[in-house]
């Protein structure tokens, strides 16, 4: 009995490690991917120096060089900073970013915790991440950091509402909060995926996701042209690396959720009997990568929004559209419209 329980705990821990390690590796290569994509859009080369054993490998070892550099740097505490809160802030950001992965289904049955309230859990975890930012901004004892933290708090609270309403649309369509059930609701080819009936919610979800993760063009929390680097201006070395890791982990989870909720998760867009038509984790990965690419594309294309424009977009444009579209979805659901409901 006791052995069984201990084995269960160890087995769960092993599963967590099996999610964590690839995720961290993905984050490392997401940075490389980002730099290469943006370089391609700027017609530059991007990182192409760091290789292995004298081979250049087109800069493929660049992420490891960056990690080693960051880990060996000193962590500097600002004067009069609150040391405990200063150190706990990046930990909170990273913990909430990773905790959300517990309910993400990679394939049918391949999920750490298949809980019924999965969608609400994800929303709760992503909204907790803001504490890391706020605490970091306050504990740094710096004007720039505090301003960045306040901007970030206002932005995340505003966009969380639009995002929550977009998820309500998915909930109405699927009739379940369980992420596996949501994917099952989209079975049977590309025309059954929810991005068609929920198109406005799909667009709003992803834009709100970009805003929630504080990425360009919504990165006023960092705003290097006005407030240097925002909430993490005082961080250096591994503490900064943890913030960086959390930001990318959040981006990947927003992309993964977009794939699960609107693009049919692990289902294949190709019909027929070929090997590509079988639903697998491969398709989940490909769909996630599409959204990651969009993130980088946005960053290379759009100038930063002004603060009041961000607030206007969130409150006066997105929230009304989502409320109206939830009604439309409910009507479609009642009359069993199309192949979706």
């Amino acid at each position: 009995m006791i052995l069984e329980q201990i084995w269960m705990i160890v087995w769960t821990l092993l599963k967590i490690v099996a999610i964590m390690l690839p995720l961290i590796l993905c984050v490392a290569y997401a940075t490389y991917f980002e730099r290469k994509v943006i370089a391609f859009m700027h017609t530059r080369m991007g990182p192409n120096r760091v290789g292995l054993f004298g081979f250049r490998l087109r800069g493929l070892m660049q992420p490891f060089a960056d990690v080693i550099k960051l880990l060996t740097k000193e962590i500097i505490f600002p004067s009069n900073a609150n040391k405990f809160l200063f150190l706990i802030a990046p930990v909170i950001t990273l913990a909430t970013a990773f905790a959300a992965w517990a309910v993400v289904p990679f394939e049918d049955g391949l999920v750490l915790a298949n809980i019924n309230a999965g969608l609400v859990y994800i929303l709760a975890m992503t909204s907790l991440g803001v504490y890391g930012v706020i605490i970091a901004g306050w504990a740094s004892n710096s004007k720039y950091a505090l301003l960045g933290a306040l901007r970030s708090a206002a932005q995340i609270v505003s966009y969380e509402i639009a995002m929550g309403f977009a998820l309500v649309g998915v909930l109405v369509a699927a009739g379940s909060l369980n992420l596996t059930e949501i994917v099952h609701g989209q079975q049977g080819g590309i025309q059954n995926w929810y991005f068609i009936p929920l198109f406005p919610l799909f667009v709003i979800y992803f834009i709100a996701g970009v805003a929630e993760t504080n990425r360009a063009p919504f990165d006023v929390a960092e705003g290097e042209s006005e407030i240097v680097a925002g909430f993490h201006v005082e961080y250096s070395g591994s503490a900064f690396a943890v913030f960086f890791l959390a930001e990318y982990a959040n981006m990947i989870i927003i992309s993964a959720l977009a794939a699960i909720m609107f693009l049919g998760g692990w289902y294949s867009p190709i019909g027929g009997d070929s090997i590509l038509a079988t639903p697998s984790v491969f398709w989940f990965f490909v769909k996630t990568c599409v959204f990651m690419y969009l993130y980088f594309w946005f960053r290379a294309s759009f100038p930063r929004y002004r603060y009041d424009q961000i607030m206007r977009l969130g409150w006066k444009v997105f929230i009304p559209i989502t409320i109206v579209w939830i009604m439309v979805v409910a009507i479609m659901k009642v009359y069993h419209l199309g192949p979706w409901f």
Binding site: V120, A124, L128, A153, A154
Partner: protein
């Protein structure tokens, strides 16, 4: 160690943190710490609810109170520049009045529980639902069938509160420099800009 015992252990750990952080909220001097302790208190309450299998309510508590309400609290507290209160202020007569209120509330709660819970809960074991029971669906069904009138009335009251709050804070100030977005978008470039065609000039100053 049987599962029941393990659960009790978890309960006592999280309950201690909940009570401890709740007391810290009112006893620490720094307001930012007080707000952060309140966050900790809410989070641990959510964990306690999770232990009695009310997972939907627990996650909603985290989402609404921790994720949104407390963020705004912290937002305001950080903006305010509150001077640290001196010990003398804390020892005023407020303390006695507060203790009296706490005592009254404690007695009331105990009376309520003693009266209500006497014949409802079996003392020795927790109510456990079978596997596959979804309390999300259950809450939804209850809210929209049994409790549909209270639910709708609460919704209307909240709506009225939102409108009232907006009306109270919405005032046009003269120095307000808000820009109307539709004005910006519907601008005619010809009114503001003149395109002049001219021959390219040859730079003369660069040969030095």
């Amino acid at each position: 160690m049987n599962p029941e015992l393990f659960q009790q252990l978890l309960f006592y750990v999280f309950a201690t943190i909940t009570v401890g952080s709740a007391m810290a909220v009112v006893s620490v001097k720094n307001t930012v710490y007080a707000a952060l302790f309140l966050v900790l208190c809410f989070f641990n309450t959510a964990i306690l609810w999770m232990l009695i299998e009310a997972e939907f309510l627990a996650i909603t508590l985290v989402l609404v109170y921790v994720g949104a309400v407390m963020v705004l609290f912290l937002f305001v507290v950080m903006m305010l520049d509150i001077k640290k209160p001196k010990a003398a202020i804390l020892k005023q007569s407020y303390t006695k009045a507060a203790l009296l209120i706490v005592l009254a509330m404690l007695v009331e709660l105990m009376m309520l529980f003693g009266y209500k819970m006497q014949d409802q809960l079996p003392q020795s074991e927790l109510i456990r639902m079978p596997e596959g029971y979804s309390n999300v669906e259950e809450i939804g069904l209850e809210l929209f069938t049994h409790y549909v009138y209270p639910f709708e009335i609460a919704a209307v009251i909240l709506l009225v509160a939102i409108i009232a709050a907006i009306c109270l804070t919405l005032r046009k100030r003269l120095e307000n420099k808000t820009i109307d977005a539709s004005k910006q978008i519907n601008i005619n470039p010809a009114e503001r800009m003149r395109v002049v065609s001219m021959k390219a000039e040859k730079g003369g100053g660069s040969k030095s």
